[in-house]
């Protein structure tokens, strides 16, 4: 096991990793930018080190700053969290070159899975059905038009790197494709420093279902079931739940088993998530793998009782998994609500400002992962996630009831949050019946969605 881990991230995930380190009895150092000096992770850490200014490019995204901080504080491993450098194989390689361990897949494995388009082909070779898509990266406009014709509209333009909906556009015609390509390229370039794009067939009515897996260095892999992340706004997940209401138990189990077999065969290592689109007929198409801990991992932790962050750290340290598929037992139903500092009435514009009041909800099956506290100043430089409310109950109806109660109990004052959208979701017929699709919020429009909930 590691002696000391540098936590190279911020917000709620820095806190989550700190907690995992404490559980494992490993010392931790929180690396922070000047804008996060007052963050809860910094306050709770035994040791913290300022690595740069607010601008993430010079702090959380600066490989030299992060590695230098790890070295001067005597760390032997770096946990990148999610986002920032978490899936950067170049960073992982430099970390290794300095004699430190990157907590995640080893660099050569990150590299193997770095290209989303290449990963799709790799896992297709290992038996996963994949969504029809372009043959390789789009070379130019002509190539894009040819490929889109072959796949058939509508198609989704996707950047090879990154995530979070940046550089992504769904287009229905050749003309839309032409105009969107340039925008996507510049967005992808700005967000990920890489403007390679590819195309995927767009399924109008689909569910986003993902499988959580963990594979140790010795090729032992397990899955932890799936999560349904179909509640999205412009490709950004808002609410996640498990199990998915979209598939029967037999179909879920079959998909999970296929997924873990494929990633083990493809040589994956550490925790990871395989994302699938499930169409109306229940057919699951593999779209991409996330080689990191994900925002929504607590949903799975609530069902299985297994600490995924600790598992990730143990695998990176070279420990065997220590349990088999039979030991992973999922119970009940869990829902995670992403609480964002966003204004639902104004295009979900990110908000910054001071938290005037904060009261976290509690009670049976209620978990709040958040880095805010009364008086905390939410900086404007980073994503708008304030925290995650996760509820668990023996069944979906119970989880929804606990979710509604917990959302009412949650007090977050001082800035505008997206709480109304969650309250609206829990009154929405499609959601209550488990029929959410990824396009529903955008099709209805958030304003209409909120208004409908207020009428009911």
């Amino acid at each position: 096991m590691f002696q000391k881990i540098l936590i190279a991230n911020r917000g709620e995930i820095a806190l989550r990793i700190l907690r995992a380190c404490r559980t494992l009895g490993v010392e931790a150092v929180v690396a922070y930018s000047e804008a996060d000096r007052e963050s809860l992770a910094v306050q709770l850490a035994d040791e913290a080190i300022c690595i740069g200014p607010a601008d993430a490019k010079r702090s959380y995204l600066s490989a030299p700053a992060v590695i230098s901080a790890a070295i001067v504080t005597g760390c032997d491993a770096i946990h990148p969290g999610y986002g920032f450098l978490s899936e950067d194989e170049g960073f992982a390689e430099v970390v290794r070159a300095h004699g430190l361990t990157f907590i995640g897949p080893p660099p050569q494995i990150l590299e193997r899975f770095a290209s989303k388009e290449g990963t799709r082909r790799l896992l297709a070779d290992h038996g996963l059905a994949t969504i029809p898509g372009s043959n390789g990266m789009l070379r130019d406009e002509l190539h894009a038009l040819e490929e889109a014709d072959r796949i058939g509209y509508p198609v989704l333009i996707k950047p090879s790197a990154g995530g979070g909906g940046k550089g992504m556009r769904m287009v229905r015609t050749a003309r839309e494709l032409e105009s969107a390509l340039r925008v996507c390229r510049s967005e992808a370039k700005a967000a990920f420093g890489d403007d390679s794009l590819y195309l995927e067939k767009w399924l109008d009515e689909n569910r986003h279902v993902e499988i959580q897996v963990a594979v140790d260095r010795y090729g032992h892999g397990v899955h932890f079931g799936e999560r349904d992340c179909s509640v999205q706004r412009r490709h950004q997940k808002i609410l996640e739940e498990a199990p998915t209401p979209a598939l029967s138990e037999a179909a879920r189990t079959a998909l999970c088993e296929r997924a873990v077999r494929a990633v083990v065969a493809a040589g994956y290592e550490n925790v990871g998530t395989l994302e699938f689109l499930v169409d109306r007929d229940g057919t699951a198409f593999f779209i991409e793998i996330n080689c990191r801990i994900q925002v929504e991992h607590p949903v799975t932790e609530m069902l299985t009782g297994i600490d995924l962050v600790a598992t990730q750290i143990r695998i990176a340290a070279g420990e065997p998994l220590g349990f088999g598929q039979g030991d992973v037992v999922a119970r009940g139903h869990a829902i995670e609500f992403r609480i964002n500092a966003e204004d639902p009435d104004h295009e979900f514009r990110p908000q910054s400002g001071q938290i005037a009041r904060y009261v976290a909800p509690g009670g049976p099956g209620v978990r709040m992962d958040s880095h805010v506290y009364p008086g905390y100043e939410v900086p404007s430089f980073y994503d708008s996630l304030l925290g995650k409310l996760i509820v668990w109950a023996p069944d979906r109806a119970g989880a929804i009831a606990r979710g509604a109660a917990a959302l009412d109990e949650l007090v977050l004052e001082g800035l505008i949050t997206n709480l109304p959208i969650h309250r609206a979701l829990l009154k929405n017929e499609a959601f209550l019946e488990g029929r959410m699709t990824t396009n529903l919020l955008d099709r209805v429009g958030s304003a209409a969605f909120l208004a409908a909930a207020n009428r009911s």
Partner: protein, 233 residues
Amino acid sequence: MVRHDGQRAGDSQRAGDSQRAGGARRSDAARLADHAEIDRLAEDLLPALIAKLGASGLGELEVREDDWTIRLRRPADEASGGGRKAGERATWSAGGGSGGPTVNPGSGSASGGHGASVARSLAAVGPGRAAEEPPHRAVATSPAVGVFHPRPELRAGARVRAGDRIASVDVLGIPQDVVAPVDGVLGASLVEAGEPVEYGQELVRIELLGGSGPAAPGHGTAGHGTPGHGPAS
């Protein structure tokens, strides 16, 4: 505020010697070690503590480090009021002394042992100056997280100009320049050579020139090798 940078070391030794004359005999090595320690505390810790005390509403501040205890106390009449400039005194002493900052070599020897009284008034430096104006001081901060390396040829007292490279911070073996934020005279180094530093950490103090400050020219010039450029005003 108290002024003591630049000229302190020599004064301190003289003061220490004279005051200790009647005390127990000690080896030279022990005395030198004490002086070095006092210098270090004076340069590293005391100025920061004075600033902290000044900024706070507190009357007294005490810090323990290794064998040393430093206690900083505002004179009673000032602890409650705002005006602290005039007549402020900072006294270093071992083993008691009332009022002002006290530095105690620990291990129980403070009250009766060798260090009986290393005491002097820091306010004696530039008499009257402290009353005239608040300190004109700036601090060069770290441009990165890494290991601090001062420029060995630059000592306290050296003239520097804004933008001069006065030290570096090694980031994975690549030196990043620490530059003087203002024209002035190098003051205390707040970090030991070879120590890890974080981004934005205060590294080297710069005394601004101008007014009747205790500038200490003649120790050489930093930067681009243009000797004798005058102080900024």
